[in-house]
Amino acid sequence: MSDTSRLGFYLLLAPILLWLVVLIILPHIGLFVVSISEKTGPRTYETGFGNYAAFFGEPLYWRTFARTAIMSILATVLTLILGFPIAYYIAKLTRGRTKTTLFLMCMIPFWVSELVRTFGWMILLRETGVVSNVLQYLGLVSGPVELLYNDAAIMVGLVYTSILFMVVPLVTTLDSLDDSLIEAGYDLGGSSTAILREIVIPHAKPGIVSGCIVVFMLSLGNYLTPILLGGKDSLWFTGMIYTQFITRFNWELGSAFGFLLLILSSLVVFLGLKLSGQSLSETMGRA
């Protein structure tokens, strides 16, 4: 490598290194440092893992943590189940204009902010909302029904918010699946389910895994949807982090929570990759 090309290499490398260090590594180091300081009095701190102990000692905290993880996994699975047929339809059963139109329709909700999207769902689901009124009009229910403020509403919101991020990688991978492979499956006597299981899903696996990773992360880190659509028992871990930072002035515990969330998401992604036999580079590279 000549001197000039080496210089070029470092110049090209500089922005990504800068981004990595300044925006990713430093904040996390900061987060960790704050998370291991315990408050002993006004403006006095000492180092220790008391905040982490507090997390494990208070059932509310780790239950919310587990609840958030389980609900996020559930939201991911639901998004996959809902998104796969959509992606399959777009990738395999439509051509040209229709395909572009359908793809755009998936994106339309993302032209407005998450807050507006969530308010849209509130208007639909609330007791005096559209769905409740339609059900009453059709005579299916006798009085107003409250569809908001429960976990199902959160689930609807999460799936709606993240379905695009499932559909896009799925469409990309399914697009690359040669139609003749599916036909060959039928020709060799395979039923639709066998072909789905043995040919389509193995091929779409990188797309499935990367879509699931993104959707899981989005759900886990979602703040607005669970807060606005959820009910009085619907706790979400990010809401808890907000509470610690803002209303309790307890940055130390909040940082510990944040760090635990980071570990949790990394762990779930790692397990997901292991279970599906994919590697992260392969998944992100191909999708």
């Binding site: 403006r43 919310t64 007791e127 005096t128 403020y149 009085k232 028992d233 509470t243 002035f249």
Partner: protein, 353 residues
């Protein structure tokens, strides 16, 4: 040489003087406390420019804490949240009373706030806007709601709402004949009160439709009739009353909870001149009335209510007779560490099934 120098100094200082006074005031305040017309008038009179950031108590403190008291030149937290934040984080600087036109303030409020915001012998806060939280009730559907604890009445199951925040704990404590403010200085006694309130609110949970978070959310719930009684701010009740005469603010029997939002100077504020100019400007009776008309709450300005609209005065008087005013429980300063106890209580209520 000498003769040439003198005029140039004169010219320089003449030029410098107005420049030094024309600052940018970065104001951290509540929605409605800095209406456009007030800002325009202030900018025209003083030459300063104003940048407004709207927020709430907790976020104000969090923002200032994140920058060690920088980024803003004037903030408006409630008076009970000043000394503890100052003790913990040191994010404010003392008020220089010599630069404040004290005659514009209602003396009793000025001295009360001074007393509540004194830390290490220095005064940190000046009173600005005051108001109460109590009950907003649809009197046609829930006329029986007179006090905080009435929200737990079985007849209103699924039709009431409140925040899962500290005012709720305090309000319920008062309606249970407890005196939480008196116990502020005694953690053990305060904890005993919190335990009783926790039991009450845990029982009451089934009655609640949802814990509201923002002012618009609770107004929507009440306006649509999905909620018929709620703990809320007086202004919210009065705004709803304008649309639907059945809904209004009710001062609870146990007493409305009174708060005063203040002026404080962030520790690393850069435009103190502009900040004092703003304080002296908005406390003028005519400006104070403009703010009352937009924010819906009254101010600590002398004669500040003179220019307030008749409607608002009528609603205020409808909610508060003299006995109710005398019964307002004014928030004393929150001692450091109290929030942690309350937080744990709120967490347990939240987790209870």
């Amino acid at each position: 040489m000498k003769t040439a120098l003198i005029p140039s100094i004169v010219i320089a200082s003449a030029l410098a003087a107005p420049i030094a006074h024309a600052d940018t005031l970065r104001l951290l305040t509540w929605g409605g406390y800095a209406p456009e017309e007030v800002i325009a008038k202030f900018e025209a009179e003083t030459g300063h420019t104003v940048e407004v950031t709207t927020s709430n108590n907790e976020e104000m403190i969090a923002k200032l804490r994140a920058t060690n008291g920088g980024g803003f030149d004037l903030a408006q937290p409630s008076q009970d949240r000043i000394t503890s934040a100052q003790e913990e984080f040191g994010i404010y600087k003392p008020i220089d009373m010599a630069r404040v036109n004290a005659g514009q303030f209602i003396p009793s409020m000025l001295s009360a706030t001074a007393g509540n915001t004194t830390f290490d012998g220095e005064v940190y806060g000046l009173p600005h806007v005051w108001g109460t939280s109590g009950l907003v009730v649809d009197t046609a559907k829930a006329g029986n709601v007179q006090d905080y604890a009435d929200l737990c009445d079985a007849s209103l199951a699924g039709k009431v709402s409140y925040r899962l925040k500290r005012p709720t704990l305090i309000g319920f404590a008062y309606s249970m004949d407890l005196d939480p403010f008196a116990a502020y200085g005694d953690p053990a006694a305060y904890q005993a009160i919190l335990d009783k309130v926790e039991a009450k609110l845990t029982d009451c949970k089934a009655n609640v439709k949802t814990y509201w978070g923002g002012g618009d959310e609770i107004k929507n719930l009440l306006r649509s009739g999905e909620v018929v009684a709620s703990m809320a701010w007086d202004t919210g009740g009065w705004q709803l009353n304008a649309d639907n005469p059945d809904i209004t603010f009710v001062a609870p029997k146990a007493g409305a909870l009174g708060w005063i939002d203040t002026f404080v100077l962030p520790a690393r504020g850069r435009a103190d001149d502009a900040a004092y100019d703003w304080i002296n400007f908005v406390m003028r009776p005519d400006i104070a009335a403009m703010i009352t008309n937009t924010a819906g709450n009254f101010t600590a300005a002398v004669d500040g209510d003179a220019g307030v609209s008749a409607d608002l005065k009528a609603r205020y008087q409808g909610s508060f007779d003299q006995a109710a005013i005398d019964n307002i429980k004014w928030y004393p300063p929150v001692p450091a560490g109290l929030e942690a106890m309350e937080g744990a209580t709120l967490d347990r209520i939240n987790a209870a099934k």
